[in-house]
């Protein structure tokens, strides 16, 4: 109980929130590193994934890549990069980008590869070129999975960045690592709550964003939406057409 009180006291101290090592600055650093890492990974993974998925290749390569990076400890990559001469957050960005590639790549490849063959054939039948098929048919249909990949990558990187505090990176993880170093367990607990909270909030926000990004026709809960539209009193086009067509015979 003592520790909880300490943690609450730590969180309530305004001095811990402001300043260059305050929670706000550290959160900003945390988000900046995450953004950079995901962008870096996306620049590599998205074009590669689109190319592989459009060509309907590379499914196995993606699985192998995902399994290998699962086995590679984050700490290993962080210490390797950090001791190879990359200081501060450069090592963090690079290491996190490496771990953000697999979810982005595999989801893009599967997203494009899983587009119904019949749909692609229909597009070809309409005379669409390969490039137009990609932009107007395959990519919109792949958006939900690609967005899911981005969401996984972002949350994963947000969760990985704190570890970089061990090798000199600055993020919310610094609070935890400093707390461990100085044996202030109230601060450790407070840092844990902050990091966990950030990840949970990000996960929630991105879940909403993913839903908004998904083309309306592809959203999972299309059924209630349709029912709502049908039940709407003002469905003028159908009603008007029906009445005008039935008007014909009666007036005649």
């Amino acid at each position: 109980m003592d520790i909880v009180q300490e943690a609450v006291a730590w969180l309530n101290d305004p001095l811990n929130w402001t300043g260059s090592n305050g929670v706000l600055a550290l959160t900003a650093a945390h988000l900046r590193v995450t953004l950079l890492a995901v962008l870096l990974a996306a620049v590599v993974a998205l074009p590669a994934g689109v190319w592989l998925g459009h060509a309907r290749r590379g499914g196995t390569a993606g699985v192998v890549l995902a399994n290998t990076t699962r086995a590679l400890p984050t700490l290993a990559l962080l210490t390797l990069f950090a001791s190879a001469g990359l200081f501060g957050n450069t090592a963090t960005v690079l290491a996190c980008a490496v771990f953000a590639v697999p979810p982005l790549l595999t989801n893009t490849v599967t997203g494009l590869g899983d587009v119904d063959r019949d749909v692609v054939d229909a597009a070809r039948g309409l005379g669409m070129s390969s490039r137009r098929r990609l932009w107007e048919v395959e990519l919109p249909l792949a958006v939900p999975l690609v967005a899911a990949g981005v969401r996984t990558a972002v949350v994963q990187v947000l969760a990985t960045v704190p570890l970089a505090a061990l090798v000199g990176g600055t993020s919310l993880g610094s609070i935890i690592v400093n707390g461990f170093g100085t044996q202030r367990y109230g601060q450790v607990l407070a840092g844990g709550v902050l990091v966990a909270g950030l990840c949970l909030v990000a996960e929630g926000v991105l879940a909403v964003a993913q839903r908004l990004l998904t083309p309306r026709g592809l959203r999972e809960s299309t059924r209630p939406a349709r029912r709502w539209r049908q039940g709407r009193p003002s469905d003028p086009p159908v009603a008007a057409m029906a009445s005008s067509s039935s008007n014909g015979p009666t007036s005649a």
Partner: protein, 229 residues
């Protein structure tokens, strides 16, 4: 020899391994024992939990949802939340590892149980199988490929995750990585990293072999197809 003055390659040095093999063996055995214990305990907890969620479908969504939410909590934060209560040391690392392995396992066991062909369960019901007997003798064996896939993922993830235990002093090979970083000893980091990867690979292959022996009815092709789950 000249090795002592200027090592030919600061990243790969057999010299380091020879001179510190006792140290490396200690870290490796700590790593292995933590991994094995964590996965074993997680399996023991995961089976009843998944079975309960399967028998009471109303519980399935909350169980899987909670697992998903807990899984988004970073390992460092989890250790930070645990350490004030469970102390600095082995217990904290073990609890954290069990928690993450548990989440993977419950999800995969449940997926396996729910993916059993309804025709098979119908046939079993027609033969007079009770609910528990059906679970033990029909559904569990049918779900084994998915369960094995879960155990593989959980094991490989745990091997990687043990290194984070370094914050509370029990990181297995992570201790070597961190010490190597502190003293700027590149060979120490690289050796620990390679051993980690090797350990994950060996554990993965071992599980596949055990699974193949214990599931003679499931041909290797099927097992391989489930890897991507």
């Amino acid at each position: 020899m000249r090795l002592a003055d200027s090592p030919p390659n600061p990243w790969f040095s057999w010299d380091y391994v020879e001179r510190n093999h006792a140290d490396i063996a200690d870290a490796l055995s700590q790593h292995v024992s933590l991994t094995v214990q964590a996965v074993a305990i997680a399996l023991l907890i995961a089976f009843p939990l998944a079975a309960l969620a399967h028998l009471r479908p109303r519980l399935a969504a909350p169980v899987v949802g909670t697992a998903g939410v807990l899984y988004t909590i970073p390992s460092l934060a989890l250790f930070a939340l645990l350490a004030p209560y469970t102390g600095i040391g082995r217990t904290t690392v073990l609890i954290g590892l069990v928690a993450y392995a548990l989440l993977v396992l419950v999800r995969n066991i449940l997926t396996g149980l729910q993916g059993v062909d309804p025709a098979v369960t119908d046939a079993a019901r027609g033969m007079g199988y009770g609910r528990m007997r059906m679970l033990a003798q029909v559904e569990l064996p049918q779900a084994l490929p998915s369960i094995v896939a879960g155990v593989r993922i959980a094991t490989v993830t745990t091997v990687a995750l043990v290194t984070v235990g370094v914050v509370v002093g029990y990181g297995g090979l992570g201790q070597l990585m961190f010490r190597g970083f502190r003293s700027n000893y590149h060979a120490e980091i690289m050796t620990a990293t390679l051993l980690c990867l090797l350990l994950a690979l060996v554990a993965d292959v071992a599980i596949v072999l055990v699974a193949r022996v214990s599931m003679p009815w499931s041909r290797s092709a099927r097992l391989l197809a489930d890897v991507s789950v």
